[in-house]
Symmetry: C2
Subunit: 341 residues, 2 copies
């Protein structure tokens, strides 16, 4: 077995060499200049590049005591790739900025790197460069690069009144997984799919690219803050309002019962839980039924609301307006609920 990635033993440059070596072993030979001053990517002509950055900080987005380094690494990359999926881009590579405490535990770094390279292989998105610095807390910052034909990106803006709002997959599962972990119930019968969804989310890369090629979506984004709040982002970027039918929100099998067992409001979790990394998009009124989307995108698709004039998002249950207290997560608002990213 290869030696652990021990920052104190290897030093900065030894660490970079070890990372390069592992990336090469894992087949990341695609990037020309890994370890050079900058990574080189070679986009095809007439293509655009989509770039996205996301950071995870120890004590804010994760705690080592309750975190498996491999899952954390998977999630760090998956979160970024979900942003590329939401643009309809094909991932081409990513950079990693790694901030480590001087006494970083080698097993953690080692597990993180193994998880990261595994996720990179799974999502066909190689590590092409980055930076390693010391820091009081662990921090992982990933910048992912995706490619797409010029002018075809799925933007958040573009939705128009009358458009229908569609959603891939289900929502609420990730937040329930987190709640189960926090309640110490992560290993109970039936908990596993929710926990897995929270720890190892799958970005909708295929569906995003298919949707982009189809050209039917007027606006799109990925569900990271919670479907209600993210619909608000889409509506705001488009200069419109929206309605969301709570009872049409698809939830995972066993979701309601598991929520009840933990004393959680299922609607609240489904609307505001966040981190489901599904795609939320607006299509013209005349677009086909959800089942046709399902078939073409290769994943479940449901119709969950509509775009209207005005501003803001209204929540409807059985066609009647309702209000809910908690609508997603904001990093700096003083009263924000503390939750995993």
């Amino acid at each position: 077995m290869a030696k652990l990635l021990d920052p104190a033993r290897l030093g900065e440059f030894g660490l970079i060499e070890a990372l390069k070596h592992r990336a090469r072993v894992a087949g990341h030979a695609w990037a020309e200049a890994i370890g050079d001053d900058a990574a080189i990517l070679r986009p095809r002509k007439d293509h655009e590049l989509a770039l996205t950055a996301d950071a995870l900080v120890e004590g804010v987005h994760f705690r080592w005591e309750t975190t498996d380094p491999r899952s954390l690494a998977h999630k760090t990359l998956a979160v970024n790739l979900s942003d590329l999926a939401a643009m309809g881009a094909r991932p081409r590579g990513f950079l990693l900025s790694l901030a480590l405490p001087p006494i970083a535990v080698p097993q953690r770094l080692d597990g993180f790197v193994a998880g990261l390279l595994g996720a990179a292989r799974r999502f066909a998105c190689p590590l092409v460069g980055g930076d390693i610095v010391s820091s009081p807390a662990w921090m992982f910052s990933v910048t992912a690069v995706g490619e797409l034909p010029r002018g075809t990106a799925l933007l958040r803006r573009g939705a128009r009144p009358g458009d229908r709002v569609m959603l891939t997959g289900q929502v609420g599962g990730s937040a329930l997984g987190l709640a189960l972990l926090e309640a110490g119930a992560g290993r109970e019968t039936g908990a596993r799919p929710f926990v897995r969804r929270h720890l190892k989310p799958e970005p909708r890369l295929e569906a995003g690219q298919k949707l982009r090629r189809w050209g039917i979506a007027r606006a799109a984004l990925d569900v990271s803050d919670g479907v209600a709040q993210d619909l608000g982002h889409l509506a705001r970027a488009s200069g419109v309002g929206a309605e969301l039918d709570i009872d049409r929100l698809p939830r995972p099998r066993g979701f309601g019962a598991a929520c009840q067992k933990l004393g959680l409001e299922a609607d609240d979790l489904a609307l505001a839980g966040g981190e489901d990394f599904e795609l939320l998009f607006a299509v013209p009124r005349k677009a086909p039924e959800a089942s046709v989307f399902s078939k073409r995108l290769g994943c479940p698709v449901a119709e969950i609301g509509r775009i209207r004039g005005g501003r803001g998002v209204s929540l409807l249950r059985d066609g009647e307006p309702v209000t809910l207290a908690r609508l997603g997560f904001d990093h700096f608002k003083p009263a924000a609920p503390s939750t995993d990213k």
Copy 2:
């Protein structure tokens, strides 16, 4: 005057909106999708993209007590652009991952953003996207994207025995500036150019692109860790050794006297001080004299050593080998000297 960027008042999304607004006001309209899931860049066909990431952490790379936020921002971007310069790339845009303590001082963030957008304008490299998270310590992570014609990047590898080693500008000035600041002598007569060099380095963007277009350099990198250590990186990547003539290292005017006054070894600072962000490159034996490089690259260029067979870097003074204790900075080696990044 615009309101301060107060994280507690604005919240995460308000902060993003304020950043977008300021970037627009500063003329960064070039990126299509700022604030969307990912930023879109539009490279020309047959071009490659160079990507580089660098992070700065509070308490490690800077301390607020001794840091001007505008200078810090300038440096954060400049450090990344220097990596692009060393590839010969033209900057096209950058992403910012911003990690802020929940009680971040608005004046600091405000100054940082002003400095960042100012540097972005100066270097013609707009802010195109990023991420904001909360964190126990401030951290700024920048990923810059540059463009260059396919297959023309100046890589670290490629130097061959017999090549001559060239250097733009002077070295040691930044380390001296830091020493002056730490000695509380930053405002004394004659200190200013060194302090400025430390706080507001200028990446050699023009020279890097001219060198790349010329096609004469076999290998190149920027001097960030110290010229001796960086020559070691170039030699190692090229699978060769190198010799460095200490007495041929160009130093800024007044450097020796200022070092003496502080009780510092001038050679040590020039060789190992780091952060000069000059370009170090290897050219074939038959290449023109340094003065011709100076003219074509539009900046001072000196010949400071040569590539040879074998491994490692030998230091020569008056043609005789010497050894020096301190050769640059490594973030994790336990015995590493503590210095600014």
